[in-house]
């Protein structure tokens, strides 16, 4: 296990500063990218669940394009191609923009399916009471859709955190980049990767626990102790559920 020898660990602990700095940069990027992706997700999600064909089309194109091309290619485009048009973004801006817009597409799909899961009657009832479309979305549909949306949204948030590691490839100054540059200068790959692994785990684990908890709370998992589930699986007592 020379990859994890004592002197390599010593090197690491003498140079632990950049790791914490990278940790901070990653958190900073995550925070703003998450906000951006939530805003984009709600806007495009509501658009694609709406009635306007043009808006629906725009939202479809946005979702399909960003979901079907690699994030790495998008990031490299911002980093390598835009300077040719005299647009120079800092690596952190590229991170927030690239990661935010990419995950916004995923959020948008979650918001759309969430809205579609709310029974149509809710919207019709609200229309009959004179609500406008925006009011219906804000006050009636989205709050009800929220419980279906939360578990997948936290999942996407965890993916977003992991995907900020891509910024390492454009010298983004984030956690992964610090580990990579430390490892390639000192050759202490083992300790470097273990430490960043732990750091990412610290950020992601609470979120994935939260997503599991929300799924259990709101999801439709059959509970083996629930007698009615068992009856339902034998099609007994079906009249009552109608």
């Amino acid at each position: 296990m020379s990859a994890f020898s004592i002197d390599k660990w010593e090197k690491l602990f003498h140079n632990i500063g950049p790791f914490f700095h990278g940790f901070g940069v990653t958190l900073y990027i995550v925070l703003f990218a998450l906000l951006l992706s939530l805003v984009l997700g709600v806007v495009f999600g509501v658009m694609s669940a709406g009635y306007n064909k043009v808006l629906r089309g725009i939202s479809r194109v946005y979702v399909e394009f960003f979901q079907n091309t690699p994030l790495l290619v998008q990031i490299f485009f911002l980093y390598n191609a835009l300077p040719y048009m005299n647009i120079n973004l800092s690596a952190v801006t590229i991170g927030i923009l690239g990661v935010g817009v990419y995950h916004g597409a995923y959020m948008s799909e979650v918001v759309r399916t969430g809205i579609e899961s709310v029974p149509k009657g809710q919207e019709e009832a609200a229309i009959s009471q004179g609500f406008t479309y925006t009011q219906i979305m804000k006050n009636i549909v989205l709050p009800q859709a929220l419980k279906n949306m939360l578990p997948p949204l936290t999942n996407i948030a965890a993916n977003l955190i992991k995907n900020t590691s891509i910024l390492a490839v454009i010298a983004g100054g984030d956690l992964m980049y610090q580990a990579d540059s430390f490892a390639s200068t000192t050759l202490a790959y083992g300790p470097a990767y273990v430490v960043v692994g732990i750091m990412y785990f610290i950020i992601c684990f609470p979120l994935s626990r939260l997503s599991g908890y929300l799924e259990e709370k709101f999801g439709e998992k059959p509970n083996p102790k629930d007698y009615s589930e068992l009856l339902a699986s034998y099609k007994i007592g079906e009249e009552e559920s109608k």
């Binding site: 079907n68 891509i166 580990a179 990767y193 992601c204 059959p222």
Partner: protein
Amino acid sequence: MNEFIAAFESVFTKSNLIYMFRGLGITLYVALISVLLSMVFGTILALFRSYGNKVLKGFSIAYIELFRNTPNLLWVLAIRFMIRMPKPFDAPMYSGILSFTLFTSAVMAEIVRGGLNSVPKGQFEAAYSQGFNFPRAVVHIILPQCFRSIVPSMLSQVITVIKDTSFLAQVAIEEFFNNSKWVMSAQIDSTINQTMRVFIIFGFVAVIYFIINFALSSVVRSRKKKQAA
């Protein structure tokens, strides 16, 4: 316009195209093998987690949580730089396959677990009543129903793997994006507009990935619709 045609022709020479499409072949090969392997390992992990004894269940949970909460790129780098692959698999591509298999297995395990949860408990009881033992009930009754319900999620994961194989460009594995970047940075004579070249290549890369993944995601959508109906 002439500038554009000159740039276009400098990108899509025969040798460049061969080089890029050979990369695409490696991309698809890595994705396919990784997905197939991780479907097998993922199913085993999910069975451990759902029906295993304490040790197997603990192992499976630890494995899944470890890989689900750390970035894929970390594993790509760590395995490429730290693990020497044994002889028949010492081509760089195989370290990519290993890292993607390890990572994707955890995701597949969660997908399969969701599928197992969706199979009603009565199916087990019915199978037992017909004299099936546990392994046979799982193989013949539970898993087929489970897989049918998770085809869309699995295909979505295939899309993710195809996109993420672009990470391998970072560790000099000759996949599609890596080779395209090489074409981009190749020396060309100064009469050709480099800006156009870069945009053409990025456009080409995006279009190729898009065609493959859009085709897959269309399948996902139609399967989902069929299941909902």
